[in-house]
């Protein structure tokens, strides 16, 4: 079990190293193959670990394995260690499985790009980092994985680094995540002082014994990290811009895996959040707010990838909501099904973008049903799964979250429940708006100059090579059947498995489940109907110009943060340079130096200047010495 997990972790690292060190000695295609094969090898390792765990019982399923002491100071030690338990096993399978499919897809998608080797090295680095995050046996190592996925994300968002937009987006993502990393680290510092260890699960058992204030601060620190990584309010502004990266990157990092790491953290560290219920509820509330905000903004986006990006924010909002009310199993369940159908949507969108030579604006798309029949089916399945229509994957997982909100009751439960239902309506509307705009209607006149980061691509007629079709097909199947792992009133193998690590706080009754499904599906279909009606009549879903403008500006968060943080910091730094550093610190001695130089005169300036200073210095020294002796006596 442990060996499988170690193999799973190290295989992608070996892949990244091999590609980097081989350089131009291997062909681009070989680099892609190395990356794909090592990722699938990791999936093999994860399977071995999973099957071995399956055969065990109870406490046997949880094992901590330490390679060596990574960091030590005083009596504080942090090992390079992994924790293999039901939760990390699920995450390993998802990360390496979906990761393998997407890296495989990249073989076809990135073919012909100048720097494929760099791309595949980064992808392997990402898969390794993400596996480190989910397997980490202590919170500091978790933070290491946390930071390294951020690094890989930075590298891949800015992959086309000749584009100013891509570089700016990459920097924005890194800095936003650095804020999260910093609060995460502060939380860990508090834990170090309280518990003197960060080892899982021992450190979590300390949570009960901590004072209310301390545990609240720790939980806030962790939540800050989770909000930044998962692009939730108020640290969400980097994700839409991150779509500057290649489309498979958006699928893997900014949809299926990395951005859901915040949910993983909330579930992994649930004893800390349970000891600080206010913070846990805050997470749920922010999730609900994000799912609504992102759903609204998605209604007015024109970029195919940005619509899907906002839907990702919105769906992660559901997961935060679930984790915040203690429905841990369903949060992870939705994480898994979302990984399937959101990766599917992005990869299908990638086929569309390729077909149109890099075009991403949905106003220049339409009627692609005929040209891309298989992609059309895949995209439709992804869209329906996203909206939560039965029997597709999203239906089972999303409705379970809503039913849990209903079951948790109280003012909070009802508010969250209502927000989630409203979100279902919005999802139906924006998801089918996108679907109709891309696949129905009349094909637009061929755009002469495609815009967007991938505009350099040659138009690829047809649906791409086998390496792209097979992953899309596999994800279509998973998006269709993946939800059957938990059927209300029938069986719950998935949530039961996760509950061994994180016991749920709420359990909806079968009645609540069916009631919720009825309402949520109706609302999703209503959204579909709205989108269809608007499409048929050629109108937009948002008709008020004021609302349109506000949503187009993403409710002015970028402008607000610019005015609140960036500009004051830049102004302060500029002022310090102009008002303090240059006149006071630098120039004061400039003049003294110049004066001494003049005294020296001629070619011998340096020497005489030095000598005079020395003479002055010696005189001063004697003076100070006398003073000191007087003082000491």
């Amino acid at each position: 079990m442990v060996a499988g997990a170690w193999f799973c972790l190290l295989a992608p690292l070996a892949g990244a190293l091999a590609i980097t060190l081989a350089g131009e000695r291997i062909s681009r295609r070989q680099a892609g193959l190395v990356s794909t094969l090592t990722t699938f090898a990791a999936f093999g390792g994860a399977l071995v670990a999973f099957v071995a765990m399956w055969a065990r019982e109870g406490a046997e399923r949880e094992q901590l394995s330490t390679a060596y002491t990574w960091l030590a100071a005083g009596d504080f030690e942090v090992g390079l260690q992994i924790l293999v338990d039901p939760l990390s096993a699920v995450m390993m399978l998802v990360v390496s499985g979906v990761g393998g499919l997407i890296v495989w897809y990249s073989l076809g998608y990135m073919a012909g790009d100048d720097e494929e080797r760099r791309y595949f090295a980064y992808m392997s680095l990402f898969v390794f980092s993400m596996l480190l995050l989910v397997e980490a046996g202590n919170l500091l190592l978790l933070l290491v994985g946390w930071g390294l996925v951020g690094l890989a994300s930075y590298l891949l968002i800015g992959f086309w680094h000749h584009r100013p937009e891509a570089v700016a987006a990459a920097k924005k993502a890194f800095v936003m995540n650095a804020i999260g990393d910093a609060t995460f680290a502060l939380g860990l510092v508090l834990l170090v002082w309280q518990a003197r260890t960060l080892e899982l699960p021992a450190v979590l058992e300390e949570a009960d014994g901590l004072s209310g204030t301390i545990v609240t601060l720790v939980a806030l620190g962790l939540l800050g990290g989770a909000l930044a990584k998962s692009a939730q309010l108020p640290l969400h502004t980097w994700l839409p811009d991150a779509m500057e990266g290649p489309t498979p990157v958006s699928a893997l990092i900014h949809a299926a895996t990395m951005v859901t790491a915040g949910v993983y953290l909330l579930v992994r560290a649930h004893p800390i959040f349970e000891a600080a219920p206010d913070v846990q509820h805050l997470a749920a509330g922010l999730g609900a707010a994000t799912l609504l905000l992102a759903g609204l903004v998605a209604l007015v986006q024109w970029d195919i990838k940005r619509v899907i990006a906002y839907s990702t924010m919105s769906q992660i909002g559901y997961m935060f909501l679930a984790a915040g009310i203690g429905a841990y199993g369903f949060a992870i369940f939705h994480l898994v099904t979302h990984a399937f159908f959101k990766a599917l949507l992005f990869l299908a969108a990638g086929v569309v973008i390729h077909h149109l030579a890099g075009e991403q604006d949905i106003r220049r798309m339409g009627g692609l049903r005929a040209a891309l029949p298989r992609t059309h089916v895949a995209f439709l399945v992804g869209t329906a799964a996203l909206v939560g229509l039965p029997p597709l994957a999203g239906f089972w997982s999303k409705d379970a979250i809503l039913a849990s909100a209903l079951a948790s009751g109280g003012a909070l439960g009802w508010t969250l429940f209502s927000a989630g239902l409203l979100g279902a309506l919005l999802t139906g509307a924006y998801a089918f708006r996108l679907y109709y705009a891309v696949f129905h209607g009349a094909p637009p006149e061929v755009s002469p100059e495609p815009h967007g980061p991938e505009a350099a691509h040659e138009p690829a007629h047809g649906e791409g090579p086998l390496s792209m079709l097979v992953p899309v097909g596999a994800l279509t199947v998973l998006s269709t059947l993946g939800g059957l792992l938990s059927v209300p009133g029938v069986w719950h193998p998935f949530t039961h498995w996760v509950s061994e690590t994180a016991e749920a706080l709420v359990e909806p009754s079968t009645g609540e489940d069916y009631l919720t499904s009825l309402v949520a599906v109706t609302l999703g279909l209503a959204g579909l109907w709205l989108a269809r009606r608007a499409f048929a009549s050629g109108r937009q879903l948002v008709t008020s110009p004021v609302a349109w403008r506000a949503l187009e500006h993403k409710l002015y968060f970028d402008e607000l943060y610019d005015a609140l943080f960036y500009r004051p910091a830049a102004a302060l730094a500029g002022a310090l340079r102009r008002e303090v550093e240059e006149p006071v610190v630098e120039r004061s001695l400039d003049e003294l130096g110049a004066g001494t130089l003049e005294l020296g005169g001629g070619v011998a300036r340096v020497q005489s200047g030095l000598l005079r200073t020395y003479a002055l210095a010696v005189a001063l020294a004697v003076f100070v010495l006398v003073l000191v002796f007087v003082a000491v006596r």
Partner: protein, 480 residues
């Protein structure tokens, strides 16, 4: 004897380089050879060092001026051995860079660099305050000349500013050394006890604050780092600054426990202010050297926070971070020098787009930059986390300042990386501008490999810096 050999070898090398009538390449090559031998000698010393045992090791003591209690006493503790190790490695890279870049009057230049190496090692090894003072001062003379003669356009002003600042510090320290020796009856660090005299403590502390430099004693830094030859700037920020940290760890803290405790708030506040101030200025600096220079100011503030946390985690973190910063800062300065040589300028507005077609430069700069901004998993991250955790004991505000520093470091480092590598090529970057040559790579790569190795196992340094891995007790009992 090994410690003495580590001091004597570069000094003898300096005399040899100055005396032998070798060609330009010959004298530079000889100097590089001596610097490499010095690294080898340090490896032997580290192999003989018993990190578990504790106490002063590899020591030599000879009476010097018996009547005054002055002795030639040298030797290493764990932390000073690591600092010396970082020093000899950085000096080898710097001297190699000078060989590659080709400096005028190479005999004088390389003799001075080797002499400087010896003086730095002597400073880290000194176990007598007067010897420490002599070594500390001996570093300055070659530095004055190296900046003043081989520096850029405004080298004279830079040198004079540097002289005035460091002389002021030296005078205070001389007074403090004499007062300490007289009151203790001996200058030996091992033989003397502790002192509760605030003024003597301040004399040492201010001298170290200028040398590090700490905010607001850094007036000499921007000019010196910009005007010095780039490898001298590397040595200044990477190594010379660490002699101040050694001074804090070996003298200011253990010998003056009470004054250090009383004044630690002031020092912590200044260090925290310097961390934020340096980071902000690095974020707005218009040139490559400005960014690296002010980031060094910030890093010295961070390390000082760790030292004056006077906590196991803070002290171990400070030593680890000192070694890290030495390697990071040297790598960055040398890379800056390589970019400046190609483009004729370090002006950010004139650079850009160098990643395309120059994969080696892009990769090395990216790796060094990511370690500089303390990406989680790097050894700098490990050091920063320990310091953050350690200084929390002095007040949560200090830990919060370190957290702010993490975000600002990301901002200014990414700015540097992008300004060199990304978007369109700037006016100073031509199509035929070269990638890193194998010779240049051979100089930077060892530093980066050391950093990656430490990232895989930062405990190597952090757990062996103080005897028994118990820094606070070691400061109070063994060093005090």
């Amino acid at each position: 004897m090994l410690t003495t050999a580590l001091i004597v070898l570069p000094v003898a090398g300096a005399l040899l380089v100055a005396a032998l009538p070798l060609t330009r390449v010959g004298s530079a090559g000889l100097a590089f050879l001596v610097a490499l031998l010095e690294v080898g000698l340090w490896v032997v010393a580290a192999a003989r060092f018993d990190f578990d045992a504790g106490g002063l090791q590899l020591g030599t003591t000879r009476e010097w001026v018996e009547s005054l209690g002055i002795s030639y006493a040298v030797g290493f503790y764990g932390f000073s051995l690591w600092l010396a190790g970082a020093a000899v490695i950085v000096f080898a890279a710097a001297i190699g860079y000078a060989l590659w870049a080709g400096r005028d009057r190479p005999r004088a230049y390389h003799a001075l660099m080797l002499f400087l190496t010896g003086a730095v090692v002597a400073t880290f090894a000194a176990q007598d305050v007067l010897l420490f003072y002599v070594a500390f001062e001996a570093m300055l003379i070659p530095l004055y000349v190296l900046v003043g003669v081989w520096g850029g356009e405004r080298r004279l002003v830079a040198t004079l500013t540097f002289v005035v600042y460091t002389m002021a510090g030296s005078l205070l320290m001389l007074a403090a050394v004499v007062a300490f020796g007289v009151t203790q009856g001996t200058f030996s660090l091992a033989g003397s006890g502790t002192s509760d005299n605030t003024w003597i403590f301040l004399g040492f502390a201010v001298a170290f604050a200028i040398k590090a430099p700490l905010f607001p004693f850094h007036g000499w830094l921007p000019l010196a780092y910009r005007q010095a030859p780039v490898e001298v700037a590397a040595v200044l920020s990477a190594i010379v600054s660490k002699t101040a940290i050694y001074g804090f760890l070996r003298i200011a803290l253990p010998k003056f426990p009470e004054p250090a405790d009383e004044l630690s708030v002031v020092i912590l506040l200044l260090a925290g202010a310097g961390l934020v101030y340096g980071s902000l200025l690095a974020f707005r600096a218009p040139d490559l050297r400005g960014i690296v220079a002010y980031s060094s100011l910030a890093q010295m503030g961070l390390i000082t926070l760790g030292v004056f946390a006077v906590d196991d985690l803070g002290l171990d973190g400070a030593v680890l971070q000192s070694v890290n910063h030495a390697l990071v800062s040297a790598s960055l300065f040398l890379l800056v020098g390589m970019v400046e040589r190609r483009c004729g300028t370090g002006d950010l507005a004139a650079l850009g787009g160098m990643a395309r077609g120059r994969p080696v430069l892009a990769t090395v700069l990216l790796v060094a930059g990511m370690i500089a901004l303390a990406v989680p998993g790097s050894t700098t991250f490990a050091g920063e986390f320990l310091i953050m955790a350690g200084v929390y004991g002095q007040g949560w505000g200090y830990a919060a300042i370190v957290a702010v520093g993490i975000v600002l470091a990301a901002m200014y480092t990414l700015r540097l990386i992008s300004a060199v590598l990304h978007v369109r090529p700037g006016p100073a970057v031509r199509e035929e501008t070269l990638d890193l040559r194998p010779g240049e790579l051979a100089l930077v790569l060892p530093l980066v490999v050391c950093l990656l190795g430490l990232s895989a196992w930062p405990a190597l340094v952090s757990q062996s810096s103080f005897p028994g891995n118990d820094p606070v007790r070691a400061l109070a009992e063994e060093l005090g």
